[in-house]
Amino acid sequence: MRNTKGVQKIAFFFLFLATLLIVVPVGLIVVIIIQKGLPAINWQFLSDIPRQGMRAGGIFPAIIGTFYLVLGAIIFALPIGLLAAIYLSEYAKDNVLNRIIKLAIVNLSGVPSVVYGLFGLALFVVFLKFGASILSGSLTLGIMILPIIITTSREALESVPQSFREVSLSLGASKWQTIRHIVLPNAIPGILTGTILGLGRAAGETAPILFTVAAFYLPQLPKSIFDQAMALPYHLYVISTQVPNVDEKIRYGTALVLLSLVLFMNLVAIIIRYNFRKKKKW
């Protein structure tokens, strides 16, 4: 008994230490990237095309390319993911088919991203003849983030209290009315969280866009969804490994822009979510 307090202190210390260790890498990543990348950031860097074999100029086409790709992936994945999540949480009975569907979703989230890239190449680029294009890249990224959106949306829908559904049904509302007017509005914050996670993943991945859309060097903006485009993560890879003598600050500047872009998108979604939470009435 006399040692209880001491043991507790030691346990507390290690728990705290482990938690602190999580903060360290996050903090270091942000500090190093800002420190090394910030000198590169200026208006020209953000708005100009790459020049002198990507050793000077800006990264504007890559920013726009990533923006289009993320937007396309969300336009594709959010409606499909949400509808699937509604089906799985509200309608699906516990039978063999639905268990296979759930298993497929779990496995889909475990597929390495480079495999998605190859799959996108085979299906969209070659078989459907979309070519290396924003369309192919968006669809590939969309499939990659589909499981994230389905899983988080399902959790959000299932976290809406069962009693709300019973009340709505007991008043004679149909199942669809209940979903539409009671379940869905209260699940939106959770669905947005899933979308945030999906956005971040789609913006940052290199492998799925490698074969499906990313251009090594394309100093102009895409004109349609059937054009190739540059994208930030792939551009970062290229200037870090494929092009000699690129100034360090350009590399870190690109990383900073990518990081900021993801954080900015998250921020927008967090603000939307916050506004919904404020209106939440229970």
């Binding site: 709300f164 019973e166 009340v167 149909s174 209260n186 229970w282």
Partner: protein, 248 residues
């Protein structure tokens, strides 16, 4: 007139035999109190009457259950639930404003006219004795109301869709005595126009408001009789034991 008739009604939730050979009739414009200890099947019986048990996975039934002489499974479930309203054990406002809570059912049944909706809301809130307390803040969240007010809001919400029967599932279990008295007062007034089935854990409440009282034990209907008879001269010793507080 008979509203509900159950003949040899049996229900199961998975392996659990929740109601055993229940034969019961619910008369129009009466308050039928249903008493019994927990797990006696009284709430399961109540949730049969608006088919809310259908939502439970593993639910099975056999036997007959008629509503207005029509087999309950043959009635469109949304129409049945419009005609048979329910007030739950806990006050369960929907995450909407006071007004929208009461208007919800009406809107879901296709009413769009704003004036008509506000008339219905006012009438329903008056019937539930809540109007005077909330008329100046109809657009406030329903969660801002006290527990007793929330429960009367739920009654108003049920009344708004103009049901014929109202099922009360232990409606006062979370309320203080004054709120309880208000809910009971509302029930007695509503009896004139509605048939009421009241499941309650509070034996005294059954005695106060019930015209007839049914005693359930382990899924069986032990005794059903005039409330005075049940509380003065029950014919079954188990009923006697329960209302005297010997078990339960």
């Amino acid at each position: 007139m008979v509203k509900f008739t159950a003949r040899n009604l049996n229900i199961w939730f998975g392996q659990i035999h929740a109601l055993k050979n229940v034969n019961i009739e619910v008369e129009a414009n009466e308050i039928l109190s249903v008493i019994g200890p927990s797990n006696s099947g009284k709430t399961s019986f109540l949730r049969m009457l608006n088919r809310l048990n259908d939502l439970n996975p593993g639910f099975k039934m056999n036997g007959e259950l008629e509503f207005d002489k029509e087999e309950i499974r043959k009635i469109d479930v949304e129409i049945l639930r419009k005609r048979v309203g329910m007030v739950f054990a806990l006050p369960l406002p929907l995450p909407l404003s006071i007004l929208e809570n009461v208007a919800y059912g009406v809107r879901m049944h296709g009413e769009k006219d704003r004036n008509r909706i506000s008339e219905i809301v006012e009438r329903s809130l008056k019937q539930a004795y809540l109007w005077d307390e909330v008329k100046d803040r109809l657009n406030v969240s329903a969660f801002k109301l006290s527990g007793g007010q929330q429960q009367r809001l739920c009654i108003a919400r049920t009344l708004a869709v103009e049901p014929e029967v109202i099922l009360f599932d232990e409606p006062c279990s979370g309320l203080d005595p004054i709120s309880t008295a208000k809910v009971e007062e509302a029930m007695l007034k509503l009896k004139k126009d509605y048939t009421i089935v009241l499941v309650t854990n509070n034996v005294k409440q059954a005695a106060r408001v019930g015209d007839r009282t049914a005693f359930f034990l382990s899924g069986e209907l032990v005794e059903l009789d005039r409330t005075e008879k049940i509380f003065t001269a029950p014919s079954d010793t188990r009923t006697d034991g329960y209302i005297r507080g010997k078990f339960g």
